[in-house]
Amino acid sequence: MTNGEKNRLKDSIFKYIGVFACSIGLILLAIFIGNIIYDGFNRIDWSFLTSLPSRKAEKAGILTAWSGSLWIVIFTFIIAVPIGISAGVYLEEYNRKNKLTRLLEINISNLAGVPSIIYGLLGLEIFVRLSNLGSSVLAGSFTLALLILPIIIVATREALKAVPSSIRAASFGLGATKWQTTWYQVLPAASGGILTGVILAISRAVGETAPLIVVGALAYVPFTPKGPMDEFTVLPIQIFNWVSRPQHEFAINAAAAIIILLAITFTMNGIAVYFRNKWQKKINW
């Protein structure tokens, strides 16, 4: 076999490996989702979405849980995304490369590895108690925001790094300030990677249970939050709760609730994916 043939063979083998790898991912996803839908889809109806929690599986609903999750996701998004992106921008575009940067950089990836429950303990002390927010949506959102910040920051930095410096040169050359360059040129060019970070971060926030329990998110709450200072529960807690009940009917409820949780995540991600596709299409160096 000539080298060329070998290389082509390797190339086509890799292609199939690639198809295979994607298939693994997709098949597993199909199994998860299929399973859950099989278990829970029939359980979803209007009253499931609009009822309060109950000890009777067939009467129980997830109104407070999904509305709580929605509040939490939205507030976490509002808090974490701007802060995360702006911190990423600062570190990548403004900060001089020195020891401090290095420390910051290591520190941030370090934060990404801190178990979520530790964030819960932090949130309990700082937001619930010190800042007197109580076990409110806001306290929960701040806690989750801290939890997902590292993901957004790191993804933002990488996306910014990938923007060719000739673009910055062109903008600076026209007298744009650093901020103008960042805002008008670099950020839009990096938006794809940033949004991926946001998607992964939001996915993580939506599914978290432990830190919110520590912060004081409730398991039973018979009213939906009316504002950011209200108490709340979230879907993962409800799911967790149901999953650990002995009765099989609750497992079905849990599956149904998972479908709703995935639907919420999917909607949030969908918006981000839409913008990612839209903005990335234009940029092809």
Binding site: G18, A21, Y90, G113, P115, I117, L121, L146, G207, V243
Partner: protein, 292 residues
């Protein structure tokens, strides 16, 4: 005027970056204030050298090594699943797949990161373990292998999506240069694209790694909760995170030595990841390729 505006913006940006420092300080404070009390009662030498971790039993041992080995074991298994698969997917999507397919597959795979981890935990326990037991009969019902594999699946999108972004951000002209020399897609990927995107790829791996280290539910459910100093993937182990969540949401009295163990475990994990991150930072610095 412009200048003041710039200053204000820079100030705000810096302030947001400092939030991460404050968070770290907060975490260290939370962990340290309790673990200092802990280390007054338990010698740090025992803590680091004892090979048993039984703080909640009558015969108490406070050796963190079993929890560390459990953490390392599950994390390594997870990474060895997600790194090859994730990277292959990233390369496939950025170099081989039609654009439309990519647009469709990428967000789908990202759902993998959004499935609640409880679901994964039960999947590992109820599906993966029995399946593997058919292949490896001596495998225990709870083990780090299933937990690690499933955790690896969960973090695939961290690697596949972020690396794919990094790869597609490499200027087209480089790809053309390589193709123009008669390189295959595979050669172009490995010799030009991956080196050029290495920074982003490494970061994606670090994030995935961190996610695996910090993951709780999957290991708590599927890996068993037996602190055991072993690197055998077939037997039950306990990770630091599983231990922490077990105790902090359990019925243990707060403000007790038993409860404080979670802070000691937490700070150990913190130091541990700190060392790992330093290493990876160093590697990254060495291999970084600039392009324009």
């Amino acid at each position: 005027m412009q200048k003041i505006k710039e200053k204000i913006i820079e100030f705000i940006l810096r302030a947001t970056a400092l939030i991460t420092i404050l968070t770290t300080i907060g975490i260290i404070w939370v962990l340290l204030s309790e673990s200092l009390v802990f280390f007054k009662e338990v010698s740090i030498i025992d803590f680091l050298t004892d090979t048993q971790w039984t703080p909640l039993f009558a015969n108490k041992h406070f050796g963190i090594l079993p929890l560390i080995s459990g953490t390392i074991l599950t994390t390594i298994i997870a990474i060895s699943v997600s790194l090859p698969i994730g990277l292959t997917i990233a390369i496939y999507l950025s170099e081989y797949a039609p654009k439309k397919l990519k647009k469709f597959i990428k967000p789908l795979l990202e759902i993998l990161a959004a499935v609640p981890t409880v679901v994964y935990g039960f999947f590992a326990l109820m599906v993966v373990t029995p399946f593997l037991q058919k292949l490896i009969p001596e495998m225990a019902g709870f083990n780090s292998l299933s937990a690690g594999i499933v955790m690896g699946i969960m973090i695939i999108p961290f690697i596949s999506s972020l690396s794919e972004d990094a790869l597609s951000a490499v200027p087209k002209s480089l790809r053309e240069a390589s193709y123009g020399m008669g390189a295959t897609k595979l050669q172009t990927s490995f010799k030009v694209m991956i080196p050029a995107a290495s920074s982003g790829i490494i970061v994606s791996v670090i994030l995935a790694f961190s996610r695996a280290i910090g993951e709780t539910m999957i290991v708590a459910i599927a890996a068993g909760q037996q602190p055991r100093l072993t690197l055998n993937p077939l037997v039950p182990v306990e990770t630091i995170t599983a231990y922490i969540v077990q105790v902090s949401l359990g019925d243990v009295q707060h403000d007790s030595l038993e409860y404080r163990t979670i802070f000691a475990a937490g700070i150990t994990l913190f130091v541990f990841t700190f060392i790992l991150n330093n290493i990876s930072f160093w590697i990254r610095k060495k291999f970084r390729e600039e392009y324009d």
